[in-house]
Symmetry: C2
Subunit: 366 residues, 2 copies
DNA sequence: TTGAAAGCGCTAACAT
DNA sequence: ATGTTAGCGCTTTCAA
């Protein structure tokens, strides 16, 4: 009997094996090990011992076939390599584990087709629920389907029009208004904004300017919502919005953000301040500033959406809009698990607070 | 019939439903949908249409019960919020998806008990294989068990003594020797090193000094291995090692790294250079330098293990030892999937190359 | 309190 | 090429 370097054959012990070893029926063994039904204490011990000896591990697939629950939650994020999602994922994972759930992770790369595929995969694997950061705020049929067929969905970071589901959000418009308001208060009148504006609807911003009614925020991606806040802050301050200062990249890509920032800096007159709407944009914009040897804040005030550890490493420290990212993750997981336990409660939209951390990168223009 | 806000009842269509709808047997429906066995094209179409109409989704649990394969790989990392693991996870996820696998992610927080629990969970969920970054290089019984019982294990970033398994590694000793050698070449004679040295064995370094035989690297965690490289570089250069310059934190915690760095800076004579062995240590050490208004590189040369994007944001840019983190992830996933397809091949240890990126934070001491 | 039997949804073996 | 049957490992009736 030759032994291969890594044995792949030996059959794993089943509950029937344990039952035989303990001299009881499979049903009883199941009850003893699974904490359901009635078992005499003495028997329970005997079964436990047998299980131990055989190195028995329950097959949760078989269990799930019957119970209809896998104790697994699916997560569809845009990109786990992005610190924003990484941190949120940590929050989700911590809560999930605490409550006995595993987490299946997938990346959508902001692509609706990939997201749909990912959701399909999760449904096939019979996850109990899904936490998703939708790639689009309108193409959400697959999410509605999932929810309708009994797999609850929790929206993460992004709201969606016409889908009644639990959601964990921050008020991007308000936060952005605060951040840009800070710059306006300092006296800035030419503030560049760097944002993806990937979704078609986010590009309709020319219509927002001076219009009495704000667009439905649920139709916007965070990037668009933050631009809306930028516009609202300008209008509240009575400062006209110069469309040339609005730099869209069309994708989550630092290189393009860098280029767009360079474009902005070349304007005449140039901006006296810049606002980047997330950490990817910040990355590219900051690089552009360094490449051009822009002095911050003397030449340009800098405000970033999303606080990152390095923002206190650079000189000057960067003024940033902080979001409770880890908590957004824990709350999302808690909402989902709560719904699994009581499916009937009304869906809730939880809005978590943000905070502008004023540091050295902002000052009055000169 | 009141409709609840989120329907949780409606039974999902099964293959039997599809078969009935298409007027064939369940077996045939399965063949048509699952791409196995023979089906007439005409029938295949009919079944497909029925499946479509009913919104049928295969239940992969049921399939896995029979095939014994879940098309899922488990990942046990220390902390997904750490950019190192986040990036690796992205690599794993990309390859996994490409080859039709899902990924279950768990964090061990460098705790063997948690790791063991995580592995147990993954085994119950019948993952096809596990990628793990072991919390200990000696307490690895649970990993050996998994491998022995037919769930292959790929070691990620950390080798393990006495476990024959595939592994994706970098040569930490060599890389560290290069990094510290760079400082020694510049003329530095007092180089502080900040490392976790959590594992008991990593603390046996006093024995390594001047000993002809190096300890078995497979018994060391990366932190210990990098210290070994530090010592070897010193010995090669004929520079004595001052134990006071070796600062262990005992945990992956930037606050402690900061404190240990402050201690090092207070030494008399102070170090002229510092080497941090991973991004968490770097975080704390860099903070300490900023708090003390240390001028880099005039007062202190700085070399970091692990390149991070912000290292080109700060002034001066930080000299860093780069590792192919994303690729380590893709390679780990590829090795695992290869083994799933051909279990008999001999386990392989893949060593990926690293690179010292010299930037402005290092210069000759003055 | 225990056991026998049925069955979750699917695929594999065996007929035809 | 298709259908019938059995069964993956477990939990849940139902009887005893």
């Amino acid at each position: 009997m030759a032994s291969s370097p890594i044995n792949t054959e030996r059959r794993r012990a089943t509950i029937t094996d344990v039952a035989r070893e303990a001299g009881v029926s499979a049903a009883t063994a199941g009850r003893a090990l699974g904490d359901y039904g009635y078992v005499r204490e003495e028997i329970r011990e005997r079964v436990r011992k047998a299980a131990e000896e055989l190195g028995y591990r329950p097959n949760s697939l078989a269990r799930s076939m019957i119970t209809g629950r896998t104790n697994t939650i699916g997560v569809v994020g845009a990109d786990i390599a992005n610190p924003f999602f990484a941190s949120a994922m940590r929050g989700i994972g911590d809560v999930a584990r605490r409550d006995g759930f595993g987490t299946i992770l997938t990346n959508s790369d902001e692509d609706v087709a990939l997201e749909r595929e990912a959701v399909g995969l999760l449904l096939q694997k019979q996850v109990d629920g899904i936490i998703v950061s939708p790639a689009s705020s309108v193409e959400t049929g697959h999410l509605a389907d999932a929810a309708r067929n009994g797999t609850p969905v929790v929206l993460f970071d992004r709201d969606v029009a016409g889908l009644t589901a639990d959601a964990v959000l921050t008020d991007s418009v308000d936060a952005s208004r605060t951040a840009v308001g800070h710059l306006l208060d300092l006296g800035h009148r030419r503030i560049a904004i760097v944002a993806e504006l990937r979704a078609a609807r986010d590009m309709e911003w020319p219509n927002w300017i001076g219009s009495a009614t704000a667009p439905d925020v649920r139709m916007l991606m965070p990037s668009g919502a933050r631009l809306l806040g930028y516009i609202q802050a300008h209008e509240a301050a009575g400062v006209p919005v110069d469309p040339a200062l609005i730099r869209g990249t069309g994708s989550y890509d630092p290189a393009t953000a860098r280029e767009q920032t360079l474009e902005a800096l070349r304007l005449d007159p140039p901006p006296t301040a810049i606002f980047t709407v997330d950490n990817v944009m910040t990355h590219g914009a900051y690089q552009a500033c360094r490449d051009m040897s822009i002095r911050i804040p003397e030449d340009l005030s800098f405000v970033a959406y999303d606080d990152m550890e390095w923002m206190t490493f650079v000189e000057p420290n960067i003024t940033a809009l902080w979001q409770p990212v880890y908590d957004m993750g824990t709350v999302a997981a808690e909402m989902l698990i709560r719904r699994l336990r009581s499916p009937e409660v009304e869906p809730v939209r939880r809005l978590l607070g943000t905070k502008l951390i004023v540091r050295g990168s902002t000052m009055a223009p000169r």
